[in-house]
Amino acid sequence: MQLLQPSDHTILLNLGIFLGHPNDVISPCLLQGGYPLEELSLKIPTPGYKPSSPERAAVPDLGYSSSENNAVLFLEAKGGGTDANQSERFQYIQNNPNTLVAIRNNLDIVSKNLNIDFGLLCTDIEKIKQNHNQTAIPFPVIFYDKKNKNLRYDDFNAITFRNNRISEIFSSPLYVPRVPILFIPFGPTEFNENMPYIVKNILMLVFEASQNLKKFDRVPSIEELLLIRFPMLNTMGKEEFDQIVTITNTVLERLFPDDSIASKYNLQRYVIHKKGKVYLRKMTLRKFLERLESALIDFEYNRRQTKQVTLSFNFSQQDVLPIPEINFEKFFGLDAIDFDEN
């Protein structure tokens, strides 16, 4: 069984969803205050912001809107410090609502008198305050205090929401008994800490997809499967995303070898049902998954070692790329059941 420590960013994303989505885990105070959650990771291009700098979109994590007030609230989840450049872009949008009106979104807004609020949702208020000493944080800060199980507005920078309604919503601490991470099981920052966990999730998607296909159909590409089920990964760095895909493809190619490109990753070819049990590659499915998990954890350990070694020899980022192999000999060489697949 893998020990999993979801990142603070992932926890905050889920918390933000609960605030604006019907549930009975955490009081959905934003939903009840007229601000349902409408958008996640909305890409807002800011062409007018510093025209000389390369074009990049601002991507606030959570977007809520109140059609009654023609008002929008964006919350940015911060596990650690803040990013001055990002803050400036958010301020630009706040002062230029047309940037938001110009793009497709679900925020239910009209172009006139649009009121835009930004806020930070954080787990480490001390880090945010430290950051405040160096760079002013121009937005109100909502602090999730895990230890005391509450969510509260912190007025250390004396900035309140433009829309009083939102300030009222956060005027008293909100009890947060727990934050299930089911809505967003891992965020774009998770890869470095929880790689085996992410790869396991992807393999589940492949199992599922392959079982609904005809014998020689092709399972959709890993990229496609990933972005449909975990669209938040779209905001992940390209290099990390590519690494996830490469690792998963490597694992799948070795576990389910197949000369035919057309049938790649169709696990049906390796699945048999006998005596009420499901077997995959001559192992019970349970055994297979246990072994796979163990191999991925070993693999992750080796990957980190490799990374440390290569970094210590001052390799460039490009050179750090070689990916250590899963120990497939160990995977298949143990007590696999002698079972006739035919």
Binding site: N23, S41, L42, V278, T284
Partner: protein
């Protein structure tokens, strides 16, 4: 002269007529053999099977053959055992919820149905009637008999008993059930596993049926098949199916992609009144990949009180996530998942973890499951 097995039929009309005879015959036989124990009697059985697959995709054991009739949605299930052949009627009028009628012994037909469901990649499942659903369905009826069965499979220390099994007959057992459910000690293990009721849509006709947790209905007395069809329609089309559809419509999640993405649907949660004392045991056992849970997958330990499970449901090979806390189990079913899987988990939670568990939707809805 009574029926020992159901005869061959060629059409729906003939099926109803034979079932009508069988019900009447049971009633006559019952009068003759009052001294016989309930186990010895051959009741007419109707087993509800939830299907995610057309019949031609199913590969039954060699001793089972599906024979055609003139109606596409009726098949004859020919079962051969020790050179004896018997027939049961498979009614697929509702392609999602099939009804298998049989006069074979309970033990025989249930074994075969279990093989059909569990032993191959059939995409079939039982219909799972939780204790609360059985109580709800039977409310308003006089209950002539009921069973309670609780197995503290995971050795939850917060439940004071290892197991509980009760079978009781009465002219009307409603108050006895209520008393047991509210009893301070027995109530903690009081999980209703079947309830017998008398259904009457008209003054002069009736049917006496016992509905069990796994969706099998025993017909022990009655006057006509019409009464039974009326009852069956009430529980399957009027109760069970709408809940499955509600789960699949409102309590499955997906993301719609735009410039950003938006979340649709809500989580399901199973709220427990008695906390689980040993979550790790629960996690390991439900992922064994065998009947009755039929789940396999990965468990991830977030803390002693928080486990995240990536689950593969062997019913449809769909993938979903569970997060288990001592007092609550959250379910995130992706859009397109089978709602029956959630009902299976819930019914089994009531039978093995906490009979007082409730299935909840999005904070506003306790699902009538």
């Amino acid at each position: 002269m009574g029926y020992e097995i159901l005869p061959k039929i060629t059409s729906r009309k003939q099926m109803y007529s034979e079932l009508d005879l069988a019900i009447n015959n049971i009633s006559q036989e019952k009068e003759k053999k009052e001294e016989e124990t309930a186990q010895q009697r051959k009741y007419l059985k109707a087993l509800i099977i939830e299907s995610n697959s057309p019949i031609n995709k199913i590969t039954p054991d060699p001793n089972i053959v599906f024979l055609p009739t003139s109606d596409d949605d009726i098949k004859l299930l020919q079962l051969t055992r020790k050179n004896n052949i018997s027939y049961s009627y498979l009614d697929m009028l509702d392609p999602r919820f099939w009804i298998l009628y049989s006069l074979d012994t309970s033990e025989d037909i249930k074994r075969e149905v279990k093989h059909l469901i569990v032993k191959n990649n059939s995409r079939l499942d039982y219909a799972w009637f939780s204790s609360t659903m059985l109580q709800k369905i039977s409310s308003g009826y006089s209950k002539t008999s009921f069973s309670m069965k609780f197995q503290n499979t995971f050795e939850n220390e917060n439940i004071p008993m290892k197991k509980l099994a009760i079978r009781l007959w009465a002219e009307d057992a409603s108050k006895i059930i209520d008393n047991l459910l509210s009893n301070e000690y027995i109530g903690k293990g009081a999980c209703v596993s079947n309830i017998e009721i008398e259904h009457r849509s008209r003054q002069d006709s009736f049917v006496k049926t016992r509905l069990s947790m796994e969706g099998s209905i025993n017909i022990s007395n009655g006057t006509s098949i019409d009464e039974f069809l009326d009852y069956q329609h009430t529980i399957v089309q009027g109760h069970y199916k709408p809940i499955v559809e509600q789960i699949e419509r409102d309590f499955t999640t997906n993301f719609s992609l735009n410039e950003g993405f938006s979340l649709n649907g809500s989580l399901l949660s199973i709220k427990l009144q008695q906390k689980i004392s040993n979550i790790e045991r629960v996690v390991n056992d439900i992922l064994k990949g065998i009947h009755p849970f039929r789940f396999v997958g990965f468990a991830n330990k977030i803390s002693d009180d928080d486990y995240l499970l990536n689950v593969l449901d062997l019913h449809t090979f769909s993938h979903f996530d569970l997060e288990i806390y001592p007092d609550e189990i959250f379910i995130n079913l992706p859009k397109g998942s089978c709602g029956n899987s959630a009902l299976r988990l819930f019914a089994l939670c009531q039978e093995r973890i906490d009979p007082k568990a409730t299935l909840r939707g999005d904070g506003y809805a306790t699902i009538a499951a």
